[in-house]
């Protein structure tokens, strides 16, 4: 009977036990001291630096790099944390190739930007390993703020509010805090339980009480929170998954990529995590890549990502696409799912239809392709589930299915702000969520203190 890669169906133990640790080690290993100095020296300390403009949290990148170059990693970390208290995670998961590093003038000059992400990790690692806290909580103001969701937006908001001396209670639906940092990012981007270490680092300022397993709409209601708190920040992310709209998608083996990644992140012994011999991932974003690559790393023999549009339309960055290719994942374009073929209720193949742009609209060409599959992952986008929000009392205005906010993150409801993936206009990036959480906290503080004055 076939074993390892070639075992049919969905199974664990496809690889030699020691292989798992290697496969899921740091994607970008940390720079050592000398590497950091050499890389920091490449920064030109640009005037009005384009990298800084490209950063959603506006970190003073030339300054933090110069601080590394001058042997001041702690000062460098403070420069980062001043703008982005989750600078450690952002250093690991930001698609820098489409943000700061794309804007780096050395990208224009020689196609080799300064490795800003890895430098940011260098200094934030130094500060976090030393447990250096840069901010002191101001004297308690007596103001109480409820934060929904202990993900990037909620944590950033909580930290900024705590700095001002407000008392923050964070309600998190999951047993662990961190949001997508804990449950939603490829394991090789956040190794050594970094998400939890970061939660501890952020909450060490004090004045932040996180209550896990508390879901809005289930355990707590917005209408009550608005009554009992001085302000509410909604940062709960996206709870829904788009459907394939393919016949037979309820077959066993058709799973949500988000759920797969979440389970993977919470699995101690990855050898025990079953994976298909032949895996098909439907989608073209970061989640599709994370699911595809990690399937391969778990020992799937054959992994194909199918995306319904062309390469240039993919939400996954060029770097991510290359990463998939380097790991032996095949990416196929212009294919949309049509029908899940199953036997005894278990998926055996997926039938796809070729697509093309016709009169500015994407449509099927009628030509079909069948790929054998033991497991199909859906990674075609997540949706905001508004029922928890508007289950009772006054409703909050939505726009295109997400919460509508003004420039400061204020929702249509008094005393309620929102940020992160749940708002309209979010880019579904950790770093934008951090910026929105931080800025909403500033807005809340201004509201408490009549434009900053206590």
């Amino acid at each position: 009977m076939a074993t390892g890669h070639f075992k049919d169906g969905i199974a664990g133990n496809r690889l030699a036990p020691e292989t798992y640790a290697d496969n899921f080690s740091d994607l970008h290993p940390p720079l050592d001291h000398h590497e950091a100095l050499v890389e920091a020296d490449r920064c030109y300390f640009c005037y009005d630096a384009p990298c800084m403009t490209a950063c959603p949290t506006s970190i003073d990148i030339p300054m933090f790099i110069r601080q590394i170059a001058t042997g001041n990693p702690l000062g460098s970390a403070k420069t980062i944390f001043d703008q982005n208290i989750l600078g450690g995670m952002c250093a690991r998961v930001c698609p820098t190739e489409t943000l700061c590093e794309e804007a780096c003038v050395r990208e224009a000059a020689e196609g080799k930007p300064v490795q800003i992400g890895r430098l940011q990790r260098y200094s934030t690692d130094v500060a976090m390993e030393e447990e250096k806290q840069f901010y002191k909580r101001a004297a308690s103001t007596g103001k109480r703020v409820a934060v929904i969701g202990a993900g990037p937006a909620g944590l950033a908001a909580a930290h900024r509010l705590a700095r001002y001396g407000h008392d923050v209670t964070v309600f998190e639906a999951k047993p662990k805090s961190g949001g997508l940092n804990e449950y939603g990012i490829a394991a090789y981007k956040s190794t050594d339980d970094f998400a939890q270490a970061e939660v501890d680092y952020v909450t060490a300022i004090g004045g932040i009480d996180i209550r896990n397993d508390m879901a809005l709409g289930r355990d707590i209601q917005l209408s009550d929170l608005v009554q009992s708190y001085d302000a509410v920040f909604l940062g709960m992310g996206l709870g829904g998954i788009n459907a394939l709209k393919a016949d037979g998608e309820d077959a066993k083996g058709v799973e949500n990529a988000v759920e797969f990644i979440s389970v993977l992140r919470q699995t101690g012994d990855l050898a025990k995590l079953p994976i298909g011999r032949r895996v098909v991932v439907i989608g073209g974003g970061m989640t599709a890549i994370d699911a595809g690559v990690q399937s391969k790393l778990l020992g799937a023999e054959d992994v194909t990502i199918c995306y319904r549009r062309g390469k240039e339309d993919m939400n996954a960055s060029g770097f991510e696409q290359d990463l998939a290719a380097a790991n032996g994942v095949t990416i196929r374009h212009w294919l949309q799912p049509k029908r899940v073929i199953s036997h005894n209720g278990k998926v055996t193949a997926i039938e796809l239809e070729y697509t093309a742009m016709k009169d500015g609209k994407l449509s099927g060409t009628g030509e079909l392709l069948t790929l054998p599959a033991d497991q199909v992952f859906k990674a075609i986008g997540q949706t905001f589930v508004s029922s928890a929000l508007n289950g009772s009392g006054a409703s909050i205005e939505l726009e295109n299915g997400r919460i509508k906010v003004d420039a400061e993150g204020h929702t249509s409801m008094a005393k309620v702000w929102a940020g992160g993936d749940c708002i309209r206009g979010g880019e579904d990036l950790t770093v934008t969520s951090v910026a929105q959480g931080r800025d909403a906290a500033e807005s809340i503080h201004r509201a408490f203190t009549s434009n900053g004055r206590a």
């Binding site: 100095l37 050499v38 920091a40 640009c46 005037y47 009005d48 170059a69 003038v105 050395r106 224009a108």
Partner: protein
Amino acid sequence: MADIRNNFIGIKSPNPFWLASAPPTDKAYNVERAFKAGWGGVVWKTLGEEGPPVVNVNGPRYGAIWGADRRLLGLNNIELITDRDLQTNLREMKQVKMNWPDRALIASIMVPCVEESWKAILPLVEETRADGIELNFGCPHGMSERGMGAAVGQVPEYIEMVVRWCKQYTRMPVITKLTPNVTDVRKPARAAKAGGTDAVSLINTVNSITSVNLDTFSPEPSIDGKGSHGGYCGPAVKPMALHMVAEIARDGETRGLPISGIGGVTTWRDAAEFMALGAGNVQVCTAAMTYGFKIVQEMIAGLENWMDEKGHRSLDDIVGRATPNVTDWQYLNLNYIAKAHIDQEACIKCGRCHIACEDTSHQAITSLVDGVRHFEVMEDECVGCNLCVNVCPVEGCITMVPLEADVLDQRTGKTVSPNYANWTTHPNNPMAKVAAE
């Protein structure tokens, strides 16, 4: 093919690259390796008088400064003259010279500033068949505290006196090595010439403290928590050395005095620059101490290639070619007007030219044009200072473009004069020489 054979005050070597008197030339083992690698000559590490040899510190002798990738930019040392027995050195020198008759072998000497001491050592050195001697009047540390080295080099009268003794007591050509730790290097050079020296060599090392340890507050290199100034050398000192070589080459009293150029020579290009300013050959130390003896092969090939490319047939074609172009500030052409020009195709928009000009110079470079990031020189503000060229990370992106004669200088509102005019006749100069009525 360019001929790079060197004839320096009658001392012949297959190329103009000598190793300076320093640790690389301390003993036969090193010098043999250097000659095998291709060095044209060596100045043997400085000999002292007979008797118990000097002792060195037993902790670090060297300190350094580095670029970000630990590229060594400047080296400093507190090593003294040879700490080996004089007879051993003399014996080895004689053997090496016998083994390598086509290479130059110079003996560096430092003995107390009394006639008897020089009179005693010179015949011993002569007996080795060394091609010449170099008088170490430059060593700035240790020996200078005992009245030798730079202590002599800083007193022109002593230089003249010792050179005179040497010329009196030996037939060997005399090269006088000068210290840069003086206010005007022309004075010791003139003294050496007055004493009859055949050549000068410069620069010796510069007084320096490379760094301070901010944990222990000890200068580096640190010997048991204390430091002493050492002699600085390497790429960092080259500009100072070039200046001093040029000053001697163009000085009315020393013009024509052969010069062996020393100070941060690291590549063929450095060597060519020293020679263009008037050095008949060059001496190298730090580059060899950093990379080993093999670098001389790059120097030889690089110099030959450049000479071939430019049509220079021998070293005589290049030595001193830049000397006439070194002048005093007062003779620079004030009617020469250049403006910076930014090549927009090459510009990577780092903005360093803008901020350097805006914060520290003449507010002559834009940062935004029509709301778009754009760096362009405003000719009506540009004084042509060249700072933007120097801070631009892209070679060739910003250039200084001279204004043609009769063109309007937008900054001054005046047209460019085609005539040379300098400060000596400038109307703003109260000392201006007025033409006779």
